[in-house]
Amino acid sequence: DAMVIQNPRYQVTQFGKPVTLSCSQTLNHNVMYWYQQKSSQAPKLLFHYYDKDFNNEADTPDNFQSRRPNTSFCFLDIRSPGLGDAAMYLCATSRDLGMYQPQHFGDGTRLSIL
């Protein structure tokens, strides 16, 4: 089945220690998104890639970066995680950027900061 896969499902890191979360997709979609979702809150868009074009949301902290080495993979790098960065991180894809495009989500990575 075509899908969006996130690894790992659970990640624990230490305060200030860089961490990378990964996302892969077999849907061959052009767009990949990263969302942050804190407990009982809405998913919040951090950034997205359209093909190789990176687009940052205005309020995304500089601490968060992303890489997309090819169509299938996208990474979220948190350079110096703080306690406030503990959250579920969701990767999603869509075929294109139109407002009629549904998004397909992975199961998420739950990040804990010690």
């Binding site: 969006v4 998913p43 868009l45 997205h48 969701l90 294109d96 950027l97 407002m99 495009q101 397909h104």
Partner: protein, 112 residues
């Protein structure tokens, strides 16, 4: 501007109906609806575009009132599997494309 969802939570018995509303203070160009079960990924339900259309998906349907800047999700004859948190997502603006801002969610619990 984040869309506002109401109610925040609703508890139903199996077979009952529910309505979840999503409203915006800005012009709405499209509304996406997703359902998320605890610890799982949000799952796409449907998208509504400008034009006041109504869509259906099994016993879940939705309407979009452009003038009122509001969308409503209708769940009829609810099943246990409908339990979860429902999010509406809207583009920030006409040129925002698929970049969505989600409402805070409506937690739906269906009991036997």
């Amino acid at each position: 501007q984040q869309p506002v969802q109401s109610p925040q939570a609703v508890i139903l018995r199996e077979g009952e109906d529910a309505v979840i509303n999503c409203s915006s203070s800005k012009a709405l160009y499209s509304v996406h609806w997703y359902r998320q079960k605890h610890g799982e990924a949000p799952v796409f339900l449907m998208i509504l575009l400008k034009g006041g259309e109504q869509k259906g998906h099994d016993k879940i349907s939705a309407s979009f009132n452009e003038k009122k800047q509001q969308s409503s999700l209708y769940l009829t004859a609810s099943q246990l599997s409908y339990s979860g948190t429902y999010f509406c997502g809207t583009p920030q603006g006409e040129t925002s494309g698929s970049r969505l801002t989600f409402g805070e969610g409506t937690q739906l619990t269906v009991n036997p």
